[in-house]
Amino acid sequence: MQALKGVSLSVGSGEIVGLLGPNGAGKSTLMKIVVGILRPTSGSVSISGKDVAREPDAAKRVVGYLPENPSLYTGLTVREFLSFVGKIRGVEDEPLRSRISEALKTFSLEEKSSALLGTLSKGMKQKVALIAATLHEPAVLVLDEPLTALDPRTQAFVNGWISSQREKGTTVLLSTHNLDIAQDHATQIAIMDRGSIIALGSLESLRKKAGTGSDSRLDEVFLKLTTPGTEE
C-alpha cells in the first residue's frame, strides 16, 4: 500500500503551514517522515538544507516534534523528564535548567514539577510534551494534532502558544482537524487526500481553487475540495 504519493511541499522560514485532510489522508505519515521516524521509499526531505535520511542527526537538531498521542515516561517526574529530554537533544546544562524553569512557569506547571508524569491529566501531559518539543529551541516545529482531546481552557492556551511561536519566527508544520486554528495561524494551507496534496496555498488561493466566495470559511473550502466530484 502506498501511504503517500507525489507529495511536494516547500515551507519557508517563519511560515506556518496548516496540514489538513480527512482521516487516513497521510498527514501523520508525512510528519513522521519529516521528523525521521519513517523512511520514505523514494524522495527526500530537507530541513534547513539537511537531508533527513542522509544527515539525520543534523536535521533532528533543528526539529521539534509533538506526536498525536505523546507517550511519556510515566515513572519520571515532570522536571526529570524534561531534563532527560533536554540532555538527549543536546542542550547544555545551564540553558537547560533555565529553559525548564521558564517553561514550567509559562505553562503553569511549576507546582507539578515534582509530580510523576503518570499522575498528570491529559492536558498537563500535552503541555509537558510541548515543552519537550521546544527545549532545544528548534527552528522547525512539527505538531501533529496538538489540540486533540484537550479541554477548552488548555486548547486556548495551546492556541496562544502557537501564536507565540509564529511571533518568534519558528517555522511550524501543523496538522489539525480544527479548521479555525488553521485559519487563524496558517500562512499556507496544504490539503491532503488519499496520500497526495490536492491543494496548497493561502486561504485566498484555495477559495479561488474551490470556487467558493471570497469571504467563505475554510471549512467550506475544505469540504468543497475534498468531496469527490466537486473539485473545480
Binding site: 521516524i37 533532528k60 515513572g75 519520571l76 526529570e80 529530554v85 538527549i88 543536546g90 535548567r97 510523576l116
Partner: protein, 534 residues
C-alpha cells in the same frame, strides 16, 4: 439473546480478531518447536534420573513444583490486576451493552481457557507420552494425565481472575486480610514439595501441598503416567480437583455480578491519576554535569526503581536462590555435566525474562526524533539493566557454588567444572538478557504480565519466542562447551595445571561473551533504527 448465545457471540468475535492466517501458521511452528523442546528436555531429564538412580520421587517433585510455580505466577498476575484481561474496546462496547456481567465473565474465562488448552495440550501430551513410554504405561493414561493437567491450568486461570475481581470488591478490612493471608498460605504450601529435596526433612511437609490444586494435579498426572496402582486416594484426588475447579468458577461468577466494571478502573490508564493524586517525588535523576550515557543509565535505573521491576527482580532472585541452594544441598547435584547444564540454564534464563521488561514501547518516538546514536542508547540501557541483574545473581551463584566446591575439593576435574560454571552462569544470564533486548528491539516488547494477561492474544509472539530460544541457546552453547570440556581437558593435560586451565578457559569465556554482547547490542540498535511501527 439468552446467556449461552451471548457467551458464544462474545467468544466468537473475540476469536475472530485473534486468529489470522499468519498467527495460525506461526502457532503451528511454535507448537512444533515446543513439542521438540519437550522431547529433548524430557529425554535429558529421564536419562539424568536413571543415571543417578534418583528414582521416581523426583519426577513427582518436579511436576508438583512446576505446577506450584504456575499457580504462584497466576496468583501474582491476579494481584497485578491482570487476572481478567479486558481491552478498551471491551469497556467501550461490551460493557455498555445490555449484557450480563456474569456472561462476560464466562466468555472471558472460556476464551482464556480455550487458548490455554489449545497452546498447552500438544507439549503436555508429548511430555506425558515420553514419560509414559519410559514407564511402560499406555498412551491412554498419558492422555488422561494431560486432561487432568489441563483442568488444573484452567482452574488456575479461574483463580487468577477471582483474585483480580476481588481487588476492588467491597471487602471489609478483615475479609481482605483473610483473603491475603489465604493467598500467601496457598503460595507457601504449594511450594512445600521443595522440602523433599532437603535431606532428612519430614516427607509429611511436602504432602501438605496435596490439598492444593497444584499438588492434586501433580499427584493424579504422575500416578497415571507412571502406572502406579490406583486406589481410593486417587479417586478422592480427582474429586478434590473437580471441587476446586467448580468452587473457583463459582466464586468468580459470584464476584463478577457486582464488581466487574469497578475492577476495570484499576487497569484503566486514565484512572491512574486518581490513585496517585498529589504524589510528590524527590528527584533522583541528576543530569547536570553528566554524560549522555550516564543520564540514559540513570533514567533507566530511576524507572526500574519506581516501578515494581526492581522489587520483582529481588523476589524472583530470592525464590531462585532458595531453590538452587536446596537443590545443591540435596545431594542430587553430583559432579555431572548434566547438572552443570541445569545450573547454567536455570540461572541464565533469569536474564532473558528480565530483558522482556524493557518497555520503551511507544515512547520510542522521543528517542528516535533525538540526535542520538541508537546503538549507543541500547548499550547504555543494557548496562543499566544488566548491572542489578548480575548483582542479584552473583550471590545466588556463590550460594550454590560454595557447598559444591567444598564437596569437590578432592576431585580437581569436577571442582574445575563447578568453579567455571558459576561465573559462566552469570555470563549466560548477561548474554540471554542481551538476546532478549535484541528481540524486544526488533519485534516490540511485551512484559511478562502482558503475556500472562493476553493469554495468547499476541500469538504472533510465538515467532519471537521460537527465534529467541533458538538463538539464545546457540549463543550460550560455546560457554557451556567450555564448562563441559574443562574436566576432560584437565584429564589430558594433568591435574597440576588446574589453575592455569581455569584461567585460560575463564578468559576465553569472557572474551567470547564480550564479543557476542557487542555484536548483539549493535544489531539491537540497528533494529531500533529500522522500527517504524511507532
Amino acid at each position: 439473546m439468552n446467556s449461552s448465545e451471548t457467551v458464544y457471540t462474545l467468544v466468537r468475535y473475540w476469536m475472530k480478531g485473534r486468529f489470522t492466517r499468519a498467527t495460525a501458521a506461526w502457532m503451528v511452528i511454535g507448537e512444533s518447536f515446543a513439542v521438540g523442546l519437550v522431547l529433548l528436555v524430557g529425554g535429558t531429564f529421564l536419562s539424568f534420573s536413571s543415571r543417578f538412580n534418583i528414582g521416581s520421587g523426583l519426577s513427582y517433585v518436579g511436576l508438583s513444583l512446576l505446577f506450584a510455580f504456575f499457580l504462584v505466577g497466576l496468583v501474582q498476575s491476579g494481584f497485578n490486576g491482570s487476572g481478567l484481561p479486558v481491552s478498551t474496546a471491551d469497556v467501550d462496547y461490551v460493557f455498555t451493552s445490555p449484557v450480563s456481567t456474569s456472561d462476560i465473565f464466562i466468555a472471558k474465562v472460556s476464551m482464556n481457557s480455550f487458548t490455554t488448552v489449545l497452546l498447552s495440550f500438544p507439549p503436555i501430551l508429548t511430555l506425558y507420552l515420553r514419560f509414559g513410554a519410559s514407564y511402560g504405561t499406555s498412551p491412554l493414561a498419558a492422555l488422561a494425565a494431560g486432561l487432568a493437567t489441563l483442568a488444573f491450568f484452567v482452574l488456575a486461570l479461574f483463580f487468577s481472575a477471582d483474585i483480580t475481581l476481588s481487588l476492588n470488591s467491597r471487602l471489609g478490612a478483615r475479609v481482605r486480610l483473610v483473603r491475603n493471608a489465604t493467598l500467601v498460605a496457598i503460595a507457601g504450601i504449594s511450594l512445600l514439595p521443595l522440602t523433599l529435596l532437603i535431606p532428612e526433612a519430614p516427607p509429611q511437609l511436602a504432602q501438605a501441598a496435596g490439598v492444593l490444586p497444584s499438588g492434586l494435579a501433580a499427584r493424579v498426572s504422575y500416578s497415571l503416567v507412571s502406572g502406579a496402582a490406583w486406589g481410593s486416594g486417587d479417586y478422592i484426588d480427582i474429586l478434590l480437583l473437580a471441587a476446586w475447579f467448580l468452587a473457583l468458577f463459582a466464586v468468580g461468577l459470584r464476584l463478577s455480578r457486582r464488581n466487574f466494571l469497578e475492577v476495570l478502573q484499576i487497569n484503566d490508564p486514565d484512572s491512574e491519576g486518581d490513585t496517585l493524586k498529589d504524589t510528590k517525588v524527590r528527584s533522583s535523576l541528576k543530569t547536570e554535569g553528566r554524560s549522555l550515557g550516564a543520564v540514559v543509565r540513570a533514567k533507566e535505573r530511576v524507572i526500574m526503581t519506581r516501578t515494581k521491576e526492581m522489587r520483582s527482580l529481588f523476589v524472583n532472585a530470592l525464590f531462585l536462590s532458595g531453590f538452587m541452594v536446596i537443590y545443591s544441598l540435596s545431594g542430587v547435584f553430583q559432579s555431572s555435566p548434566t547438572s552443570f547444564l541445569f545450573l547454567l540454564f536455570i540461572i541464565g534464563s533469569f536474564g532473558s525474562g528480565n530483558a522482556s521488561r524493557w518497555l520503551e514501547k511507544e515512547r520510542l518516538w522521543l528517542i528516535k526524533t533525538s540526535a542520538i546514536d541508537l546503538k549507543r542508547y541500547v548499550s547504555e540501557v543494557y548496562r543499566a539493566r544488566v548491572t542489578p541483574l548480575l548483582l542479584v545473581l552473583a550471590p545466588v551463584a556463590a550460594a550454590v557454588g560454595a557447598p559444591l566446591l567444598l564437596e569437590e575439593t578432592s576431585t580437581p576435574g569436577s571442582g574445575l567444572e563447578i568453579g567455571l560454571s558459576l561465573p559462566e552462569s552469570l555470563e549466560v544470564a548477561a548474554l540471554m538478557m542481551a538476546g532478549g533486548m535484541y528481540f524486544a528491539a526488533r519485534y516490540g516488547q511485551s512484559s511478562v504480565d502482558d503475556t500472562l494477561a493476553t493469554q495468547g492474544q499476541d500469538l504472533a509472539d510465538v515467532k519471537r519466542f521460537v527465534y529467541q530460544t533458538l538463538i539464545n541457546l546457540g549463543l550460550v552453547a560455546p560457554l557451556m562447551g567450555f564448562v563441559l570440556g574443562a574436566g576432560p581437558l584437565l584429564g589430558l593435560i594433568g591435574g597440576s595445571h588446574v589453575l592455569l586451565l581455569a584461567g585460560v578457559i575463564g578468559v576465553a569465556g569472557l572474551a567470547y561473551t564480550t564479543l557476542v554482547l557487542r555484536f548483539i547490542l549493535r544489531i539491537a540498535g540497528e533494529s531500533l533504527e529500522r522500527r517504524e511501527d511507532l
